[in-house]
């Protein structure tokens, strides 16, 4: 395998520097605590029962995380993947701070089944909590061990020594870290011996350290899996059925095989792919193969207009997830509302891509999967291979936002590569492959009912949410498209009904407020009509949109200011702080509409009710004639615990706000009983620059010494609800169905006019 590794600058340079133990070897004496390390996918909760911090509970040996070579090179390992969220940089900062070395001296390796710990999926805003905590504590302990060794060697008290850029100083002799390690020094279990420095003394953590991956990505250096070029590499394209469940009845294989450059047609049951020596030849072969294939049957899709009724009428697993005792207030006014959200896409800008190489009975796949270990397991099952004969190496792809086509493209590369042993095979999905076949974010329905007491407080609260699953990740081979298409197909595993407190479809369905007489019920429907899985925030986007819209409706009915109404029901001071900060920065008190058609809206949520706190205030303008919504200002505050990189936090929240605005204003998967219609950007419009807000401001609130809470998903829900509430404020119309398309708004405004 070694020669493949040296053939491209893109392959993680594990062998570039000799490690103390087993220098140059690929089979590093790895310190994993068994294979039970897979995380619970989207479960959303970090295991609180674990005795060790973060992912140290899965991989407790220090050298799983940090190695120091004889030449002084320091390598830090994470099982998490860079998805554009900046995790690589944040983890780098943590390691440098805790080890006490210049960040330049550290090399950080990300998810690779032959090299890094198994940290499951890079999902659910868990990476800082899991990998960040592990690296922070492991690095602090490594530092303590090496200082102790230096003290013993110098015959002085460890307390008299300190560390400066990887050198233990303060004794009769300065000793660099690499003079203090031998092969087994760090091959010890984490015991918590390290003392973490006072956050007030941090020099690298807490600073806006520039992203380490940005210069390469902005200058055309090879940075993405799409950029990987291996010697002798060939190009593949997949040909999918026109609709899920269709069978390949006829196929003129010879016609495609005769085309220029075509090296192979891979057919296995209903699985079809072409391989050509040139990339554009593969594209042309795909187009020809589509014409040469006749498909029959397939699963009928529902009428789009009936999807919500159908969802509510489907057999469901019902769970009451939250109940509180009745209060003393007697309801004098009752409000009821129903909210809907259509299927929505991840739709990464770059369609999924992977490179596979099958050689000497071993398979290597370069992939932008969120989970190299779980995807490896599924691929091994698909190919009836031993897991340890399969290696998955993460490389960045286009932004991810959840379970998109990445795992499936990796399986495509694996399957096709096994048909061409010795040949690196690059599979690039075309735009329609991603749009039509990625798993969507579930359509959802919420029904809410609440009573207001005479004093304007909420007297009772009933909330029901209906949803398809929010995680169908591998899992097994049945969770891969290829697994469903091959001649001897694998069955989709029963989807996970992700339990509270994090929840799936019911994520953030429990109100964060102190409300008596509350009852919240989740209706989990597994009869999926369209392929669905995890999309950034899962059910939180829809639940926060619904819940925070409904709270605004109640505030209005109570004649209360929306911000004051919320603050009166919030016990948690950190929640109060983000609400107050966002309201203050926005200029909530005393705000008046600067021109006709303007409105303001506010919303708050704590992601999963246990992670980051986020409040968003929006000022927008509606043009009644066209129904167009223009967001002028978005103001946000966020508390995700100890901040490692404030610019990284800002970037995630700014991005979350803009992406959520796109979901809220524009996005809906179109389909008819025959087919998915949203096959490209023309049939699935997203926000373009003419709709970008004039201003987005984010205030990160730092909590030194507090646990990392993760930032990536907390802005999605509050943004949607703040837009909804601002539209109501601007127009007097309450819209409860997503998206807020100009047509929908126009219709609603006209109805109000004539009512």
């Amino acid at each position: 395998m070694t020669h493949h590794r040296s053939s491209s600058p893109l392959i993680p340079p594990i062998t570039r520097r000799g490690f103390v133990a087993g220098a140059g070897s690929l089979t590093l004496s790895f310190a994993l605590s068994g294979r039970a390390a897979a995380q619970s996918e989207e479960s959303g909760v970090v295991d609180q029962t674990a005795e060790l911090p973060g992912s140290l509970s899965k991989a407790p040996f220090l050298d799983s995380w940090i190695r120091i070579a004889a030449d002084g090179a320091i390598t830090v390992f994470t099982g998490k993947a860079e998805l554009g969220q900046g995790i690589r940089t944040a983890l780098h900062q943590i390691a440098a701070e805790m080890l006490g070395v210049d960040p330049q001296r550290i090399e950080l390796l990300t998810a690779d089944t032959d090299a890094t710990p198994n940290e499951g999926y890079t999902a659910a805003s868990h990476s800082m909590e899991e990998s960040g905590s592990a690296i922070m504590n492991a690095a602090a302990e490594v530092r303590a061990i090496l200082v102790q060794r230096a003290a013993e060697r110098l015959g002085v008290d460890a307390e008299t020594l300190r560390v400066e850029d990887g050198v233990v100083i303060g004794g009769p002799e300065d000793l660099a870290y690499n003079m203090l390690v031998d092969g087994e020094t760090l091959h010890v279990r984490y015991e918590g011996r390290g003392r973490k420095p006072d956050p007030a003394t941090y020099k690298i953590m807490g600073t806006p350290f520039p992203r380490t991956d940005i210069p390469a990505k902005l200058t055309g250096a090879p940075a993405y899996v799409q950029d990987l070029r291996l010697p002798g590499m060939v190009h593949a394209r997949v040909i999918r059925p026109p609709v899920s469940g269709a069978r390949l009845a006829e196929f003129d294989q010879a016609a495609v095989e005769a085309m220029p450059g075509v090296m192979a047609v891979v057919r296995n049951g209903n699985y079809l792919a072409v391989v050509a020596s040139g990339e554009y030849q593969a594209v042309e072969a795909k187009r020809a193969a589509e014409g040469a294939a006749r498909w029959t049957g397939g699963i009928a899709l529902p009428e789009r207009s009936e999807i919500y009724d159908r969802l509510q009428a489907s057999a469901a697993e019902e769970t009451v997830i939250h109940e509180t005792d009745a209060g003393s207030g007697f309801p004098v006014k009752r409000l009821k509302a129903r909210y809907t959200r259509p299927f929505q896409m991840h739709s990464s800008i770059g369609p999924s891509c992977a490179v596979g190489l099958f050689e000497d009975g071993r398979l290597t796949v370069w992939t932008h999967t969120q989970g190299v270990y779980p995807d490896r397991k599924a691929i091994a099952e698909l190919l009836s291979m031993e897991e340890n004969a399969v290696r998955l190496i993460h490389m960045p792809g286009a932004g991810c936002y959840g379970h998109n086509g990445a795992d499936d493209a990796a399986a495509d590369a694996a399957l096709i590569a096994t048909a061409l042993p010795g040949r690196p095979v690059r599979v690039q999905w075309m735009r329609e492959d991603e749009h039509l076949w990625e798993p969507y974010g579930s359509a959802m329905v919420v029904e809410a009912s609440a009573g207001l007491a005479a004093d304007g407080t909420i007297a009772d609260w009933t909330y029901d949410v209906w949803s398809y699953p929010h995680s169908t990740r591998p899992g097994g081979a049945g969770n891969l498209i290829a697994g469903n298409l091959v001649a001897d197909p694998f069955r989709l595993a029963p989807p996970t009904n992700i339990p509270q407190p994090a929840g799936g479809g019911d994520r953030n369905a429990v109100p964060p407020y102190d409300i008596p007489g509350a009852r919240v019920t989740k209706h989990f429907v597994t009869d999926m009509t369209l392929r669905v899985s995890a999309l950034r925030g899962l059910g939180a986007f829809m639940n926060v949109f619904s819940l925070e819209s409904f709270v605004d409706e109640l505030a209005e009915a109570a004649g209360a200011d929306p911000v004051a109404f919320r603050l009166a029901m919030l016990d948690d001071p950190r929640a109060g702080d983000v609400v107050t900060a966002a309201a203050t920065d926005f200029g909530w008190d005393g705000w008046t509409a600067p021109a006709p058609g303007f409105g303001r809206g506010f919303a708050y949520a704590r992601y999963k009710n246990l992670a980051a706190y986020c409040a968003v205030a929006i000022e927008l303008q509606v043009t009644p004639e066209t129904g167009a919504i223009r967001i002028h200002r978005a103001v946000s505050s966020v508390d995700s615990g100890q901040i490692v990189n404030p610019n990284g936090v800002r970037n995630q929240i700014e991005g979350g706000i803009v992406q959520s605005a796109s979901w809220t204003l524009f996005e809906e998967v179109l389909y008819s009983p025959d087919r998915i219609e949203s096959r490209d950007w023309s049939a699935y419009p997203i926000l373009r620059f003419d709709a970008v807000p004039a201003s987005v401001r984010v205030r990160p609130i730092d909590r030194p010494g507090e646990p990392f809470l993760g930032t990536g998903e907390c802005a999605q829900g509050p943004t949607a609800a703040a837009i909804a509430n601002a539209v109501r404020d601007a127009t007097g119309v309450r819209i409860r169905d997503l998206p807020y398309s100009p047509k929908r708004l126009q219709t609603a405004l006209r109805e109000t006019e004539f009512s």
């Binding site: 250096a221 800008i349 770059g350 960045p396 600067p594 997203i686 620059f689 004039a694």
Partner: protein, 171 residues
């Protein structure tokens, strides 16, 4: 055989004349800057300059490029010595996944070649063909302003047609 100039170097490409420029750049010339996004001219990830003007390379057949001068992201600078537009994007940390950014940078390079001092409306209009999915737009606009020689601490990007930003109490 099609002869053209790519990043200042003369090249001759022997490929099917129907091959879109994007595939020639990425494979025959092994350049990574232009990205495949849709192949349909809808997203702008593959934007390059042709004779100094921004163009979508996924729709441009090789046959149309005889004698033309192509500039890709690589032609603007390197990680060690980034060009001015690249430097502005790096300074503003204007990337999340970064996949769409090369197209944004090329779009801005094309705009600045024609309009050295673009206002906000001109910047928005120039970037309109390009999609970003991470929602990095605010930083892209900030970087664009910086590249246009007027960096600013605060956002307040005027909309087309609205003139002054009426809601702008944000600074």
């Amino acid at each position: 055989m099609v002869a053209m100039t790519v990043n200042g170097k003369s090249v001759s490409v022997d490929a099917d004349p129907e091959t879109p420029l994007l595939y020639v750049l990425r494979n025959e010339l092994e350049l990574n800057g232009a990205k495949f996004g849709c192949g349909l001219g809808q997203c702008g990830a593959c934007t390059v300059l042709v004779d100094g003007k921004a163009a979508i390379s996924c729709l441009l057949p090789l046959a149309a490029l005889e004698g033309r001068a192509i500039t890709t992201l690589e032609g603007l600078g390197t990680a060690e010595a980034p060009g001015p537009v690249q430097a502005a994007f790096i300074e503003e940390q204007a990337a999340q996944c970064g996949y769409c950014i090369p197209g944004m940078i090329m779009r801005m390079a094309g705009l600045l070649a024609e309009t050295p001092e673009p206002d906000d409306e001109e910047i928005r209009a120039a970037l309109q063909p390009n999609l970003c999915r991470c929602g990095t737009h605010m930083r892209i606009l900030r970087a664009a302003r910086r590249a246009a020689g007027r960096p600013s601490e605060e956002d307040n990007f005027a909309f087309a047609g609205s003139g002054q930003n009426v809601g702008g109490t944000s600074s």
